[in-house]
Each structure stands twice: as structure tokens, then as C-alpha cells.
Amino acid sequence: MSESPHALLLASAGTGKTHRLTSHYLRLLFAGVEPSRILATTFTRKAAGEIFDRVLERLTNAVEDEDARRSLEEGVGRRIGAAEGEERLAGLARRLDRLRIGTLDAFFAELARIFALDLGLPPDWRIAGNSTAEELHAEAVGRVLAAAGAAERLDLLRSLQKEAATRSVHAALLDLVAGARAVHLESAPGAWECVRPGPALDAGELRALGARLETLVPPATKSGKPRVHWKNGLAAIRQHVAEGAWDDFLGATLVARALDETPTFDRTEIPADWLAVLRPLAAHASAVLLARLARQNAATVLFLERFEAAWRAIQGERGLLRFEDLPAALAPGGPERGRPLEERELDLWYRLDAQIDHVLLDEFQDTAPAQWRVLSPLVDEVLADGTGWRSFFCVGDEKQSIYGWRQAEPRLLGSLAARPGLVPEPLARSYRSSSVVLDAVNAFFAGAGENAALAGDAHEARRRAARRWSSAHVPHAAAKDLPGAVVLWEALSPAPGEDRDAPALRLAADRAAALATATPGARIGILVRQRKRIPRLIYLLRERGQRASGEGGNPLTDSAAVLALLSLVHLADHPADRAAAFHVASSPFGPAFDLPPAAGGTVPADRARAAAGRVRERLAREGYGPFCAALHAELVTADARFTAWDRRRFACLVELAHAFDAEAGLRPAAFADHVRATKVEDPAAAQVRVMTIHAAKGLEFDAVLLPELNQPLGRHRVEILASRPDPAGPIRAASHAASQALARTNAALQALAAETVEREFAEDLAVLYVAMTRAARRLEMIVHAPGKNELCYAALLRAAFAGPPAVSVPDTPATARWRHGSDEGWAAGLESAPAAAPPADLPALRLAPSRAPRLLPHRSPSAAEGGPARAAALLRPRDPAATARGSLVHRWLEDLEWIEDFAASDAELLDRGARIEPDLERRRAALAELRRALASPAIRAALARPAGESPEVRREHAFSLFLPEPDGGEALWTGAIDRLVLHRRGGELVAAEVIDYKTDRVAPAELALRAEHYRPQLDAYRRIAAALTGLPPAAIAARLVFLAPEEVVEV
């Protein structure tokens, strides 16, 4: 490591960033760095797992293979002996626990755990699941509303909704949280006050202008009639002014043109007297609307501040956090505050158990400023270290920044590049894609700034983004010599009433099926923008006999069996839900729940109620897991109406249900919510995989199909405009969006809107870049014929690849607008399918017959008292004093063989009981009671030495022995018999007597009842004594000795 120990890689797609990252990691290992001192983070657990695997794999390869060792030597920059490689691998494998390779979230969670109390978090916080979090957000909104006074909240609401009287309040506020919270959290104070309205006209001025508006006369045609555009325009404007409809006013073309520098309308200059009226009115309109917007912004801040407070309170109460709460929790106080750990004189390394010397950040473009604020002190520390020992390695690609909605800030990469000590190194040699694919990528992105579809004023901000992109574009070169082909298809136009993407989707399915059939070894990916397309495409592929798997997982609601189960569960919660009852009744589950098959009819209410009650009861008794498992076994696998797909998905449901049992409450509907909110990947992967472009990041395919390119761009997410001049700093200006017409009347707003559009368009380009660069050899992009004048990928691609005339292809309902590369041989080397082993069914399980069962029931006679228990008996409070008294008396009586010989003094006895009952007074009282009892004739008689052959007395006779159970098994009985007297005749055991002392105070009248209560216990003793002595039970007497009242009862 002679040069700088740090590295900043700007790694285009497929250029081997993971290779470089693992090289750096391995270099550190070979330099003897402890793994616990290397932090390597990325954004998904999957990616972290891949880095982990790659590190291990490269070491292993090097150990097993000479060539691989050479290449590893190249990577780590020094020679490695064969033995050394082995040692390193062994050393690393033994310290797997120390590897800090993981997600940023996991690292933050670790920090938030070890500093929970120092950061004011609940000490035992957990991550809340999606459906819980939604519920808690709603709860927080409810609290904010409840806390405000009636007038205040109405005012707040009106301001938030720009004076509209919406019906939806709660839901609208939740939408506001979803849309604006992230921006709010990152905003500097005052950021939302960036929109400042100008002065409005007073009523008099307004009236005067209104009057002058009435006097304007539209220019006339040659024939003297007023020109129709002018006439209509003026009429509309007059109406808008009369109604105070200022946004319509500003939006009117005539007004917009009047505000132009050279005001012309309908090919005629707008007369000065018109301008003198329209321009001040426009200024007024702008002032009114901006004031409204400013109020909305202020109300947003006010509301969100309260929401945060409520949310924090809920977090504290429930101990629940979201991953997105962690950065703020770790760097509290927002973008401009101090370091809580330093304030508390705490040391991160101490609690982490290791100083992190090396920081490796993957996918840096996905880092959010809030995350960066937590990381940057660490990175600063590393970069400031002058010894050359510590290192910082960072890899990212602005072109692949597609997580803006998660607050990712790709510009952070640029600001890192500007730091001294970091020299950015662009990587543009692709180890993935064929030069044919890269040609298309280069052509499109290098030319993006000049793309004809971006011409015109409306696209200025987007053009800026595209120009930035093309000027930064480093042409990608192919590292491998792969064949390839790129096609831009033009699909048929959608049929009337048909979804506009339908033909493209069908074509994609056709193409994928054709490619898969022709080349069974090729991995094919169909990448879409909306998740909801996935089931559709899988359906279409199946129709073409092509198996496909959806990636990233769908909720299990893509199976009819699961849906029927969810309706059953919903019915359990809502017995009067006729739709759910009908659904269950008409499903194969119907008969099992005594819901008559609903042949067009509906389910009688009482049947539905009874079924609901039974399900609720079973869920509470068995749990969701066992309940679903039973249905799976009894109905889903058995009923021919369910498909193989149903069976597979229902099996996943059973597993989900088992896991849900840990958190289940009393509302079955919550389970349905949970299932709907949980994505479960189908574990069976297929040759053709369908997924979103976002899910495909990090993957590659031999052939990629992009069928959803006609979706309009730039329509999404622009509700909140924000500007963050310093990528690592706070948001300095933020506002709700405004109409274009309003934005142009206000410079701040206009700049804000332009910045937002530019940012979002850059991300749109990034999505397309990611999509195109997933392809190794073949890229097929499918567009359809032009329609309305919106911007979409299709328009951009058509403009970029306006090549030779379209070619129609036989048997394909489409024409190829552009082709590059060769269809022949693109798949060379991919022909053979991976040898798919035949489905391996589980072998049958054979077991030997039972020989010696373990862990049998363990029983004790004292637990048998009273026979089968009732709830009341189980819940009856114990009297601790009575328990202690009982223990004392038993302890003392242990020393009594025959009453005649019982000579222990009070002092001795009191001493013997000291550990049982520390309180001397209580001991005294117990002893007095014992003495009294022992003086009673009945008890004396029971404990007196009989005449004749002196029997053997065992006291506290402990036992553990097996007795048969009624069900044919055995149980181990353990306990102690208070007093067991063995009578012998001629040395031979002839009878025995079991005595059990009872210290509970019983009223004399209830003695018989009490004795009955103890009968099962004494019966057990009798059986045990029989087993101990070998005597028949009939020869064994059992007696209860009650000390208060002093009575002996034969049982």
C-alpha cells in the first residue's frame, strides 16, 4: 500500500465493483488487519451476503487453484504463498463472527442498541413490521388531531388543503405524512418559508381592474367580427376574475402569453391596454395563490412537528422503531446539531469492542444525507489519520441512483470526490455486457443531452439533467468478447379499451418464450417498472407454456387458496360479512366449516356466525400456524380444485402463520393484513424471471426484455419540492408543488420546481440505465406507436434510435425499429440448460418401534390433591404464612419417630426452623400449635409406638418411581411420604401405614369434605407405598393427621 490507502471508485454497471471491493477487503486481511476493524456496508442484506460469499470464495479459489491465486495476488497487490492462503482462509473462517460485513441499517441498529439509553430510545426497542407501522402512524395522526383544539385543527386542515373542504381528513393526513415527512425531517429551520407572496390588491383596486377588464375589446377579423380565440379567452378570464378563480385565471393561455417578454396571442401582439389590466391582475392572482401555498407549507411544518412528537411518544410506549428512524435517532436534532456521544463523554469504539480502522462503503450513491451524517464522523476520522494505516474505500455510481424516494443523495458521491486525499477512479470496462449492448448504452446516454424528445421549453430542466449526464458519460467498453444483439421493437397499438401496455407485455411474453425455448441455457429477465405487472406477465408466459418466476416476492394473495383462507379469517373477525361468507362457502373450504356450497345463493347468517365463532375459537386454541397447517393437510392438498400453485403458496402461508403466532392478537383480520403486506418469494426459480427494475439491480441476465417503456415519466412524486444545496447538508427550501403557471410568477418556486424536475429526471434516466445494463448479450426494448404528447422512455428511445426504416418480422406482431448486432450466434455457449435434477421427493421416514420412551409424565401426589382441578382452585391465593407453617411443622415432625421418644426442646426446634421462617414469633406460634396437637389423644395414638414387634418408621421418605398410567403408559412419581410405617411379622413385611400431616386449618364440620379432597393424594401414596414395599394396596393404611383440629382420618 504505497500510494494513498483510500479509494473512490466511480463504477459503471458491470465493471466489477464487488471484485474491487473484495480485493480491498482481502488486501487488508493479508496485511494482518483484524476483521472486526473493517466495516463494510451496503444497502441490502442480499448484497451484503454476496460480499461475504465473494470474500470467502476468492480465498478458497486461491487455495484450491493456482491461477486463482495469481489473480488474487493481483487483487491484493502482493505475492501469496500457498500455505499463507490456507492460513488466511482458516483464520478468517474461524472468526466469521467478527466480520463486519452487513447493511448500513444493521450497523445503525447495532449502534442504536448499544447506545439506546444514551440516545433516549426505549432500551428494548424492536423494529416494527410494515402493517404495525402503518397502524402506529394512523395512531399518531389521531393523537395530533385529538390534542389540538377544534378551531385550531380546522384551521390547520383548511390550510393544509388549500382551503378545499375535503371529506377525507385522517386518510389525507396520512398521505401527507407519507409524502412530506422525509423532507420535513431533513429541512433546516425556515426551509418551508421559502415561498413569499407579493402584495395583493385591495378590494378597490381589484374592482377598478375588473371594470377595466370589462371594457377591453377583442381585435376584429377582416370582416369586423371579434376574433374567436380572443373573444373566448377574454370571456373566460372575465369569469375567472368574477369568481375569484385565480388559478384558472393564471392558467389561462391569454394570461400566460401576457406575461411573456414579447406578449403575443393568436399570432397578434397583445395590446398595451390589455397588458395594463392583465399583468396587475396576474400579480394579484399570484399573490393570492402564493399566500395560500405559504399557509399550506406552514401548516405542513406545524402538523409534521406535532406528528413527530406523537410518533416519538408512541415509539417510547411500544418500544418500536422503523429502520428509517435510526439515522435521526443516532444523529438527533436534525442536520445541524451536535454529537450526542461526545456530549456524554462516551466512546464508540469502547462499546463496539473494536476500533473501526477501515471503512468500505458500497453503493454509495444510495446513501441518504441522514445516514451520511452518522457515517461521516467515522470517515473523517479515518481520512484524517496520517499514518497510512487506516483506509477508506468507497464505490458508487451516480448513474445507478434509483432510490431518490428513499432520500438517497447521489451528489454525496461528487462531494466525496472533491475531498483531498480521495482521487476518483472511473471504472468503465464492463465484465458483464457484450460490446453490442454497450454500444446501445453509450449511444443513448452520451446523446441524452441532445435527445430530440427533450426539445422545447417544457423540457428545459430535464434537458439540463440529460446534458449533465451525457457530459459525464464515460464510454463503456467491453472487457469480454461476447456476441450480442439489441432490438427496439415497436409493438402494435393497444386495442380500444385495452390497457396501453398490453401489446408490449404480450410481445415480451412471446419473445421470452421464444428465446427460452431456443436457448434453454440462457437466463432471461423481463424487467418492469410496476410490481403489479409481474403476475400478469407470469400469466402470459404460462399461457405460452413457459414457466416463469416472479422475483422479489409477491404477497401470497396471488393464490386462490390463500384468498379463500383470508376470507375465512376475515369472516371469523366479521361474522356478518356476507361477501366473505360467500367466498368461503363457494370455495373448497365451505363444507369443512359447515357453510353450504353457495350455488348462487348466499350463506344464512346463523351458519356464518357459527362458522366464524368456530374459527375464532380454533385460532385462539390452536394458533394460526397449526390451524392453517390442518387446512393445508386436510383440504388444500386434497381438493382437486386447488392447483399446484395453490398448494405451494399455501405451504408458504402455513409457515407465515406459524411465525405470526408469536405476535397474534385477538383480531383475525390482523392476520389477513399481515399476509397482504408480506411478500413471499416463490422458492422455485425458473429460466425466465420477471421482476421490477429496482429488484434487478445487482443482477444480470443473458437476455433482458423491457416491455413497460410507454409509462409516462415525471408525473410521479412531485408533490413536494425540495432543494438541498449542499448534498450533505439540510434541505434549505421546500414547498408543496404548484402549477406551472404559478411557479413562473415566483422565482424561488420556479427554481425549486426546476430543481425537483431535474433531479427526478436524472433518476428516471438512472432507472433506464440500470435496466439496459442488466443485459449481458441481448437487450430487447419494446415500445408502441406514439400516442399523446407525454414524455416516456419510449419517446426517448425512439428519438435516440431513429435508425433505418422499420422492419417487420414474420410471425411477430411488431416491427423492429432498430437493430444492432446479430441474432445469429448471440447465444453461443449458452445452449445447454443447467442439468436440472429430477424433483427429489422426500424419502419415506422409517423409524424403529418404540423401545424406551423418554421424558414421560412426571407426577407428584401432592399435585393430585383435589383430583382434576377447577380454575377456582388453581387461582386460590396461597397464604405464605400457612405455607411456612406447614414446612416448619413437617420439618419438626421429621425428627419424630415415636411420640414417646420425641424429646427435642423448644429452643432446639425453633433453631431448626430458622431457615424456613426467619420470623421468630411466627415460629413460636407454629411450635405452640404443634405442641398442642401432639398433646391430643387422637394424634398421640396415631404416632405412638405399638406394642409388639416394633415397626420400622421412615420419615420424609423420598421416592421417584414409575407407576402405570391409565392410558397404558407410565409416569414417574416423585415426592416424599411424610411418614411410612412398615409392620413386619416374623421379619416379613405384612402391612404398612402411610401418614400425611395436614396443617391447614379446617372447621370440624368440614373435616370429612376436606379428607375427600385429599383422597386422590392419599390414593397415590398408597399405590406408591405398594410399589415401594411390594405389599398389595389393601394391606396399606392411609391416614390424614390434621393438626388443627387435632384429628386423624383414615382414608
Binding site: 440516545l119 361474522p575 377447577r870 380454575a871
Partner: protein, 926 residues
């Protein structure tokens, strides 16, 4: 000074318990009375008892068998009455609260509110557990503070000092109530040398001890014998007490051959791999001779499933967590309800089957279906809390009141809303549980439900004892919900043991990693052999980083590793078969790492092992999914439509039909409705209904012909508020209150439009008008149907023209033409059909048709009239209606089309999202 305990090396070629039993039998004979035998866990103790009882028979006088943890208490003479866990937690709460602010902040930067018992309890439990861990090593917070001070991190030292101060206070508080902290009591007894001087102790397999036990045993000395499951040749690797020397074991290799380690992909594959391993043994073992180790509890359901499929019961040794038992769930629901008396919590509580059954047993409630009643009430009245005031029609109101009274009665004192010292709540809880659970029939332990219920009630009873023993001075009086929270915390972590298999029922036990060493099954498969599980990782300790643990002698990474390396030796040697399974991914699909123990082998073997880890047999590719024939599921999913004879058609139905004939079939032919009780505000329908009611009243009021907006607005406002108060009460959900104000606001704008309309010469002629007989017969093929509808308004102009108006209260009301036709196709027939219906009033002239719009936007509050609609439009609409009626009466077909209802059940009935369905609705009709 006594001599050290005897060490006996049992060898490890047999299960340790069998060897220990044999040793005990040989050395102690049949009478082991007076002996203390300690094992690492309770389960091992039970099993040892079985082995000895079987081996010796009835003559056996058993020793006391206990856990190593309990042994300390048996040997040390602790003075004073030890405080239970709950009491100690409360003492910590007080002690922490009483710390000076600056010190308290050292422990927790943000203190909970004074009255937030739950918040404080969370912190106190953390501290109590920490103290327990430190004290088990014979230390206290002050000693830790001293050690930490050496590390010179100011904040850490200050924190431990603050803890030490709290500890002192905690002890004082307990002492003031005649109690001692058992940890401190043990430390004191040890310091004073108060050790039982007579007991003979045998430790079986206790190879890892905490400091307290070590020091106690040192005092017991030669009266103790440690049975060490290891060959004598390993003696050097154990210390004088028979414990592992961590440094000696942590780096040792393990006897785990590569062929005994399998790597699977996901939890399900892992379970299948385990089943394959069991199958390879091919009947050599009986079920009870096999144990499945589950180092990762996440695998239990997967194993359970696979075993069940093979006809084998899985016996999960971990048992059923108490939180999942019915009575504890009931208490949790009561706690939630009492905490805020929220309606949602009430609705949940009343869905507890046990409470439901108890309520249903009351004759007065026999005919009441609580869930239905509450659902209907919620939908109509959107209640926030349950305050005993019920609204609406008398019949449901009476039912709700009776139900509520019964619940309150069952809750008894719990419901009274008072604050009490904690012990004062124990009887109230008992009373409530008895009201629910005390039935005539005793619990039958042979029935699994009853067994679990009985065990849960017994645990609750013991927790209630703890609650009852809380010194009243220790915690401020708490409301019932607070007391229940304390009670539920006490119950946390406890479990009901699993059922014992019936004789002859093949059952395989699932056992956690730590218990496996002393398990004596002949064959073993360990699943979940992952990093973080074996050895167990303690993620992110807030107080005790590993370096400090090591310094203090607490269990640290090295000790855990040593313990597990040793365990692996024992498992491998003492079992006839043993195998390990790891997986690459967890349930969520996230990557896992293998246990590093798999790599405790000579360096030359590691590459092959890593290779195994990296390339498991990919089950994903090995098992291609079956492809179903398209449409197979479709046939199952949709029952054939059977249309009853429908004599009447509502005008409003056609919109649904035009959206989706199948949805129409569900909604209007079958009259299916779906319910959800989670709305936090009025939905569009509820909002619209309220608006309609008010407007109907206006149409019948004296202001209907007024041309002055002010009184109209006033009337509408008052009427809206009056009706809202009737429906939602004085204190509605805040969102509902806002909605009402929004409606009033819209009414205000409407009033001016209405007044203007009157000035233009229009009068309300009829309001909520229906034709004579309710409808007008529409002749269709094969007969006629009655077309029925209710027209919101029939307005008449002074000049005799008519207008038919429908009130619309959606957020945005579209122009009538646009809301009736789209791209040349009908999407609604409402207004033209109204015109057709109203012919008897309106006569032959075509009336104006339109909406009285009350949208959210001020400009969307207006009269919107359809332009250019003439008689042909009406005729076309009637023809369309006729076509639809005829299709429906002919039994369909009812295509799904592109409807996307928001209600999940209807969406499900339409098959939305199903893989088998072509989402475009281009499916062929079955």
C-alpha cells in the same frame, strides 16, 4: 482451607447422563437421600431422575436434584426474606427515579414521565437483569465502576457510578420493607462464609459456572464431586472445579467430519435436509431415540410441518410461551382496553372466545352476537371510546348496553377506574378470571386444551402471588391497567411445557442448542447451525462490551465459544449418529452465515468446507415448479352464477354493471356486503348519507324556496350538526368532527348557489321523489321489470321547465356527461333513467338533467347540468338498461372486466392479483 472438590472424568463415549447415573449408582448406592445433585438445566435433571429410577427401581431413595443455579441458594444461608422479581423491579424503578437528575441522565438520557410506570419498568428491568448478571459473578455495580474507571472513559464510569448509587438505594428500599435482594443476600452470605457445612454435592456435567457458584463450591471443597463428561486424558483442559478452561477449548478443532455437515438454502430446505438425514438411518432408531436440535427457533414450524407430514409428532421442548395461552391473551386484551377504553380494544376484547363464551352463557345475552353488534355500531357511529353511552336505534342500543353491563360486571373491580396499591389488584384479577374460567366441569388434564389452560392459570396464580406480596409502599397506587402491565411482565418468558406424547405415538423432540450436550438421544440432527446461534452471539450489549465482560470474568465470547466447542466434542462422541445442517438464507430470504465451528478444523480442510457452504445443492433448481393448465384455477374460483328472479332494478345498479358485470352480480344480485371496523373517519358513503339526510330535511323545510343564502346556510349547518351529534355523540373522533365542519363549509357555498337558483326562477317541486308504485315497469324480453329509483330533486322553473337533480358529495364531482359516458360507451345510466322514470311528472318535454354538486373545491359546489342531452340520449340509455336487464335475467355472462374494488374481500372474489388470472379481463367466459 478445605481441599478442592473431587473431579471424576466420565469419558465421553456415552451420553453424559447415563454415565453420571451409573457413577451415582455405583458410588452412592440405592439410597441417595441427603445428596445434592446439580445439573446445568432442569430438563437434564428430569431425565437423570428417569434414568436412575429405571435403573434402580422402586428401592431408590432419590437425592435432591436441582439446577446449578439453585444449588447456590441451597448451599448458602441467605439471611432475610428474598424479594421476588417483580418487587425488585419496582424497587429499581423507585431507586432510579430518586436519583439526582444528572446521575439519572447518565443511565437514561431521556427519562420517562413520572407516571409512566411502563416506561420506567422497561429501564428498571434492563438494570435489574444487568445487576443479576454482574452479581452472579460476585460483583456489584460499585465494583464494576471501579474497574471501568481504569479504562478512563469518563461517561462510562459516571454511568456505572450512577448505577451503583441506584443499587444502594434499591437495597435500602427493600430493607425498609423487610426484604433483601437475593443477589446481595448471596454475596453477603458468601462473604460471611455462611455455607451449609454438611451437604454432599455432586455436580453432573456442570462445566461452566458463574463466579458465585465457583466461590461457593470452593467453600464446600472436598464434599463436592464434579462429574466431568470427558475422558481423563482431557483433564488438563479443565480447572479444579471441573470447568472448561476457555483458552484451552476456544481454539480447539472439533470432531465434525465434512460428510456430517449439510448446507441447505432456506428454512424449508433445511427442514427437508434434516428429514433426509433421518431417513438415511433407515429404521435404526425409534422416535424417542432421536433428537432434533434447533439452534434457531425460527426453524421449529418448518420441522414441525415436515415431521407431521411423515406422521411424527414434534415435541418442542421450549413449550408454548405463556403469552400465547388463552388466559394471558385475555389479560393482555383487558389491559389494552382498560388503558384507554378505546372502542377498538373493546372490539378486540369481545372477540376473545373465552370471554365470548362466558358472556354467551348469560341468559340475558343469549341472543346477542357481540362481534356483529359492534361492527354495525362502529360503522354507523365511529365511536372513539367506550363510555357506556350508546347511540342509535333502540334495539341494538339495548343489546350493546346489556353487553357492556355484563362485561363491566365480569371485569368487576378492574373496571372501576380507581388507583390502588398493586397488591390490591390481585383479587380483582382473580375475580375476573373466575368469572370467565370457573365452570362447573373441572379441567381434564388429558385434554390438551385443558392442560394448557390449567398450566397457564397456575402460572398466573403464581404471578398474582408475587403481585400480592409487593410491599404497598414500593410502588405508587396504579390503575388497573398499570397493575395488569406489571403482571403481564412478570409472566413474560415463561412457558407451558409441551404435552407428553401418548403411548405409541411416535414423537421426536425438538431441543435448543444449549440443552443438547446433556440430552441422551442416540441420534441427533442439529439444525440452525449458524453464526450467531452456535455459539450464541449477544448483539450489541448496551452496558457490557465484551472487553469489559472479559475483564470482569462474565460470560464472554471466548467462554461461549469454548462451551460450544466442548459441546461438539461430546455430541460427536456420545451419539451413534450426529449431523449438522446450516442454511444460507433465513425465512425472510436474507443471507445467513454458517457456524464458525464448522471451520474449527486444520487449515488444509477449510477450503473444501467453504466450498460446501458456497455451493449447496440448489433446491430451487432441483425442484422445478409444476405449471398449472391455464384456467384450471379459474374454474374452481368462480361458482356458476345463478340468478334468482329479479323483479326490480335500481337505477343506481347500472353503474356497477357497466364497471364490472361480475361485481354487479356480487353486489346487487347476491347482495354481498363486506365489513371492516377500522375506519377512523366517515367513508364516502357515510359522508354522502349524512349530506343527503340534511339536504332532504332542507327540501322539506320552510327555506326551500328562500332566495336568501343566510338562512339556508344556517338551516343546513344546524341540521348537519344536530344529526351528527345524534350519530356520533358530543365527543366524536377528531377527524369526524373535522369532516362535519367540512360538510358545513360545503353547505355554506351550496346555500348561495341554491339561493341564486331560486332567484333564477327555479323551485324545488319534489324532494326524494319516487314514482307511483316505487318505480316504472320496463318491458324487456320475456316480461317486464320494475325500474326503481329515488330522485333527489325535481325542480320546476316558473316558466314550466323541469330539472332533475341528483346530489353528489364526492371530493370532485364531474360533469354529468363525463360521468355517464366515456369514449362513446355508457358508464352510468342514472340521470337519463331518472328522466324516464319521472315522465309521469315531467311530461313529454325533455327535462334538464344534472347534479347538485357539493365537491371539496369551492368551485365544485354548483349545479352542473348536462349540455346537449336530448330525447335520444334518454332512449339510448333505456335501451342500454334493457340490454343489461335482459343479460342479467338470462344468467349472464358476468365478466369481471377491469373493476378494482378497494375492499379486499370483493377484490378477492374478483380474483384480483391472482397469478391464474389475466388482469386485463380478456379471459374467456367459462
Amino acid at each position: 482451607m478445605t481441599r478442592a472438590p473431587h473431579l471424576v472424568f466420565l469419558g465421553w463415549n456415552r451420553p453424559p447422563l447415563a454415565a453420571a447415573a451409573e457413577w451415582l449408582h455405583e458410588h452412592a448406592g440405592e439410597d441417595m437421600g441427603g445428596l445434592l445433585v446439580a445439573l446445568p438445566g432442569a430438563r437434564a435433571g428430569r431425565r437423570l431422575r428417569e434414568i436412575l429410577a429405571r435403573r434402580i427401581g422402586a428401592r431408590w431413595r432419590p437425592p435432591r436434584i436441582l439446577t446449578a443455579g439453585a444449588l447456590v441458594d441451597e448451599l448458602l444461608a441467605v439471611e432475610g426474606r428474598p424479594a421476588g422479581r417483580t418487587v425488585r423491579t419496582l424497587a429499581w424503578v423507585r431507586a432510579l427515579q430518586e436519583l439526582p437528575g444528572a446521575e439519572r441522565e447518565r443511565i437514561a438520557a431521556r427519562a420517562p414521565e413520572e407516571g409512566d410506570l411502563a416506561g420506567w419498568t422497561r429501564i428498571a428491568e434492563e438494570v435489574r437483569a444487568l445487576f443479576g448478571e454482574v452479581a452472579a459473578e460476585g460483583l456489584d455495580f460499585a465494583r464494576v465502576a471501579e474497574r471501568v474507571a481504569r479504562s478512563a472513559i469518563a461517561g462510562e464510569t459516571a454511568r456505572w457510578r450512577a448505577l451503583a448509587r441506584a443499587q444502594t438505594r434499591m437495597a435500602e428500599l427493600l430493607a425498609a420493607h423487610g426484604l433483601v435482594d437475593p443477589h446481595l443476600g448471596r454475596l453477603a452470605a458468601l462473604a460471611a462464609g455462611r455455607v451449609d457445612g454438611t451437604a454432599r454435592v455432586v455436580l453432573a456435567g456442570v462445566v461452566d459456572m458463574n463466579g458465585l457458584l465457583r466461590r461457593t463450591l470452593e467453600l464446600v471443597g472436598e464434599r463436592a464431586t464434579a462429574l466431568v463428561p470427558a475422558p481423563a486424558a482431557e483433564a488438563a483442559e479443565f480447572d479444579a472445579l471441573g470447568c472448561l478452561r476457555p483458552a484451552a477449548w476456544a481454539e480447539r478443532d472439533v470432531p465434525l467430519e465434512l460428510e456430517r455437515w449439510r448446507v441447505a438454502e432456506r428454512p424449508g430446505d433445511q427442514a427437508e435436509e434434516a428429514m433426509r438425514l433421518l431417513a438415511t438411518w433407515n429404521g435404526r432408531f425409534a422416535a424417542e431415540e432421536i433428537t432434533l436440535g434447533v439452534a434457531d427457533p425460527e426453524l421449529v414450524p418448518y420441522l414441525r410441518q415436515r415431521l407431521a407430514a411423515a406422521g411424527v409428532t414434534a415435541r418442542d421442548a421450549a413449550g408454548l410461551p405463556l403469552e400465547r395461552t388463552r388466559p394471558v391473551r385475555l389479560l393482555a386484551a383487558v389491559q389494552a382496553f382498560l388503558a384507554g377504553r378505546r372502542f377498538a380494544d373493546y372490539a378486540a376484547l369481545l372477540r376473545h372466545p373465552d370471554l365470548e363464551a362466558a358472556l354467551a352463557a348469560r341468559p340475558a345475552l343469549a341472543r346477542i352476537a357481540p362481534a356483529e353488534l359492534l361492527d354495525a355500531y362502529q360503522a354507523e357511529h365511529l365511536p372513539a371510546v367506550v363510555d357506556g353511552r350508546w347511540r342509535g336505534a333502540p334495539e341494538p342500543r339495548a343489546g350493546l348496553a346489556a353487553l357492556h353491563a355484563a362485561v363491566e360486571e365480569d371485569l368487576g373491580e378492574l373496571a372501576r377506574g380507581e388507583r390502588r396499591a398493586l397488591p390490591g389488584w390481585a383479587d380483582a384479577v382473580r375475580g375476573f378470571l373466575l368469572a370467565v374460567y370457573d365452570s362447573a366441569a373441572p379441567l381434564d388434564p388429558a385434554r390438551e386444551d385443558d392442560r394448557v389452560l390449567g398450566a397457564a392459570l397456575a402460572e398466573i396464580a403464581s404471578a398474582l402471588e408475587e403481585l400480592a406480596e409487593t410491599p404497598p409502599g414500593l410502588a405508587p397506587p396504579a390503575p388497573a391497567a398499570g397493575a395488569l402491565d406489571v403482571l403481564l411482565r412478570t409472566l413474560r418468558g415463561r412457558a407451558v411445557p409441551p404435552p407428553v406424547p401418548r403411548p405409541g405415538e411416535p414423537a421426536i423432540e425438538l431441543l435448543g442448542w444449549l440443552e443438547l450436550v446433556l440430552d441422551d438421544a442416540r441420534a441427533l440432527v442439529v439444525t440452525g447451525f449458524q453464526d450467531g446461534r452456535v455459539p450464541e452471539a449477544v448483539p450489541g450489549d448496551a452496558f457490557l462490551p465484551d472487553s469489559l465482560r472479559r475483564e470482569l470474568g462474565l460470560v464472554d465470547d471466548e467462554r461461549r465459544l469454548a462451551r460450544d466447542v466442548y459441546a461438539l466434542h461430546v455430541l460427536r462422541h456420545a451419539r451413534e449418529e450426529v449431523a449438522f445442517v446450516s442454511a444460507r438464507r433465513d425465512r425472510a430470504g436474507d443471507p445467513l452465515r454458517p457456524s464458525r465451528l464448522a471451520f474449527h478444523r486444520p487449515p488444509a480442510e477449510i477450503a473444501a468446507r467453504v466450498r460446501r457452504w458456497l455451493s449447496p445443492k440448489d433446491a430451487r433448481l432441483a425442484r422445478p415448479p409444476a405449471v398449472d393448465a391455464p384456467g384450471a384455477a379459474e374454474r374452481a374460483r368462480r361458482p356458476p352464477a345463478v340468478v334468482p328472479d329479479l323483479p326490480r332494478f335500481w337505477v343506481t345498479w347500472f353503474r356497477t354493471y357497466l364497471e364490472s358485470p361480475y361485481l354487479f352480480y356480487l353486489r346487487h344480485v347476491l347482495e354481498l356486503e363486506t365489513l371492516d371496523d377500522r375506519a377512523r373517519e366517515m367513508d364516502p358513503l357515510g359522508f354522502g348519507n349524512l349530506a343527503h339526510e340534511v339536504l332532504r330535511a332542507f327540501g322539506a323545510s320552510e327555506w326551500r324556496d328562500s332566495d336568501d343564502p343566510a338562512p339556508i346556510a344556517a338551516f343546513l349547518r344546524e341540521e348537519a350538526r344536530r344529526r351528527a351529534a345524534l350519530r356520533f355523540g358530543r365527543d366524536p373522533l377528531p377527524a369526524v368532527e373535522l369532516q362535519i365542519e367540512q360538510l358545513v363549509h360545503r353547505f355554506g357555498l351550496f346555500a348561495s348557489r341554491q339561493a341564486a337558483r331560486v332567484r333564477e326562477g327555479w323551485r324545488i317541486a319534489h324532494c326524494e321523489w319516487t314514482p307511483e308504485g316505487g318505480g316504472r315497469p320496463l318491458p324487456v324480453a320475456g316480461g317486464e321489470v320494475l325500474l326503481v329509483g329515488r330522485v333527489d330533486r325535481l325542480d320546476r322553473h316558473d316558466d314550466g321547465r323541469w330539472a332533475i337533480l341528483d346530489y353528489k358529495t364526492g371530493e370532485t364531482v364531474k360533469d354529468p356527461a363525463k360521468s355517464h359516458r366515456k369514449e362513446e360507451r355508457w358508464i352510468d345510466l342514472q340521470l337519463p333513467l331518472y328522466a324516464w322514470l319521472a315522465r309521469e311528472v315531467v311530461g313529454d318535454a325533455t327535462p334538464f338533467l344534472g347534479f347538485a354538486a357539493l365537491g371539496k373545491d369551492p368551485r365544485n359546489v354548483d349545479f352542473l347540468l348536462a349540455k346537449d342531452w336530448d330525447e335520444t340520449v334518454i332512449e339510448e340509455a333505456v335501451a342500454e338498461a334493457r340490454r343489461i336487464v335482459e343479460t342479467v335475467r338470462a344468467g349472464g355472462p358476468f365478466a369481471i372486466a377491469d373493476a378494482r374494488p378497494r375492499e379486499p374481500i370483493l377484490a378477492a372474489l374478483l380474483g384480483q392479483g391472482l397469478l391464474e388470472r389475466d388482469e386485463d379481463g380478456t379471459e374467456s367466459e367459462a
